[in-house]
Assembly symmetry: C2
Homo-oligomer: 366 residues x 2
Amino acid sequence: MAELQAAPLTQEALQAEALSKLLEGLQQDEDNTQDEHAHFMHMAIPRIGIGMDCSVTPLQHGGLSLVQTTDFFYPLVDDPYMMGKIACANVLSDMYAMGVTECDNMLMLLGVSTKMTEKERDIVMPLIMRGFKDSALEAGTTVTGGQTVVNPWCTIGGVASTVCQPNEYIVPDNAVVGDVLVLTKPLGTQVAVNAHQWLDQPERWNRIKLVVSEDDVRKAYQRAMDSMARLNRIAARLMHKYNAHGATDVTGFGLLGHAQNLAKHQKNEVSFVIHNLPVIAKMAAVAKACGNMFQLLQGHSAETSGGLLICLPREQAAAYCKDIEKQEGYQAWIIGIVEKGNRTARIIDKPRVIEVPAKEKDGELW
Amino acid sequence: MAELQAAPLTQEALQAEALSKLLEGLQQDEDNTQDEHAHFMHMAIPRIGIGMDCSVTPLQHGGLSLVQTTDFFYPLVDDPYMMGKIACANVLSDMYAMGVTECDNMLMLLGVSTKMTEKERDIVMPLIMRGFKDSALEAGTTVTGGQTVVNPWCTIGGVASTVCQPNEYIVPDNAVVGDVLVLTKPLGTQVAVNAHQWLDQPERWNRIKLVVSEDDVRKAYQRAMDSMARLNRIAARLMHKYNAHGATDVTGFGLLGHAQNLAKHQKNEVSFVIHNLPVIAKMAAVAKACGNMFQLLQGHSAETSGGLLICLPREQAAAYCKDIEKQEGYQAWIIGIVEKGNRTARIIDKPRVIEVPAKEKDGELW
């Protein structure tokens, strides 16, 4: 009863397409009506608008900027508490991608499904809210407000805001030739979530049962939930320590979509080339067995609350990966390089797939 | 084609009920886990959480606070551009209720309906966005980001944030015995919007055609749209000039619901008594003809982007109303008094209904 119904799969694709189109229009306006920079004591403070992970708005108060992001989506796991945690981690992830580690305030956005019975609602919604708040607490922030509506589909999301000095965030436009690309979470969350749903749908399950066992799928699903609920906060903190040149988080547009967006915003004439794809164990095989459905190895499979994709100086990248593993017990991977180019990103023809085992940080197998 | 489909009427009621219940849970947590005040130079800076119009979060930077609000809902008028304006005015209204007149940043939240054709979407959604942005511009702020999803129902909303000094907002808890209550917009927007929909539904229309003409309904609908799209910004500015003791904005819970909420948060032992109900012309008659459906004269009819309900010192209230009319061409009304009591609000038995003509500010009749 306390299970959430996941929304139809097609919406992700629809969403990506509709979003791009609508944002184009908004971006054009943006370009016409806003100065790119505000100034404080003769120092340019960037104004960052639509298109990157966060908006950065210079304030009239002593060089401070308001950094904000919002995100909401539909349930994709059947555990309401975990869903709340994932939603919160996903909202905060946009801030972490900018190197911001402290969030001043969060708001929660909730849509209660019209299809829920009163009883379901009274059990499920408080669990989602609890998960969201617990995750906010873990991030050292609090949820002080929000909005709840009734909606055909259950909806969960939020707003994260922080006010900070210019040295507290990293404008993601400074990649240089010779940098390497680091990814802090494995790919394949959408594949794992779908494969898990298919355990109850024989005709779907038949399509993948030759390449994966039920047990593999359950492990992958647990690993995906765990990964999606994990905060990118330490990843963000270490960006400062190892002089990151910029980052983004990997979500609805997939690894390549977000890599391309990051490449497009670079000041220097660079391009990103991706050689390695760390994927939750067995999920690459599942994706392949499904033909063109996920486009995981092409970099288009949507992720939820994915890892940070970070441009790091080559000599710092290994230390970054080692440090994050030491602090959190999770691996990060060098997945590509920054070379001279025209601000695009691509995955090489036959990328190496790194199978990421579905184990917990203390070495315990699920 | 560029028309919006309004969502079912019942959702407002559902929403109010579900919301109250969910927020109770969140509020309890709130009470347990947060200090009520932060401190800056030995001065208490209030932390305001769930339950009032905005959240106020003290920042670590020189006595500044982050004031935020979010709101989203479903289309209720068939003009997409006006819908965008109304949605923006509605989001900002929560800030204005706190006396905050400058908004630093806005985010837009959009749900594109799955029921729209691609063509409808490409015409309707940009118009909504344009309306929202134009309203933000009128408010002296900008929209720098947001989130768009695909959803069964079209959704529109946003987030407003500002960073300010304590003297820039008015904590709405300072009403004293002898104050009077001022309302800055007429009631009846929901009645007008529904009556307008019924023009095309004979069985509905038959219920009200004895008390209202088609022309009356069209005028009332125009007046409602105009009223909902109007910013409460000057109303907020004048709160400072005339020493307001607190305010709220009238939205989904109706006049009485919001009055009760405001009363509940007062420091002093006061109660609010409402004697007058300014209502868009003929809409009181329509509401009466519909039996218990709207509960307009009982103060429960939902409003969208309604006026501010302000506690003002008795000797300042008339000047406040005169000033707002001079600046904007719209009337405001003294609708009640603050007396000694136990933090409740009520409407007297036979309140006086003030018929507010459906005219524009320059005296032109619609």
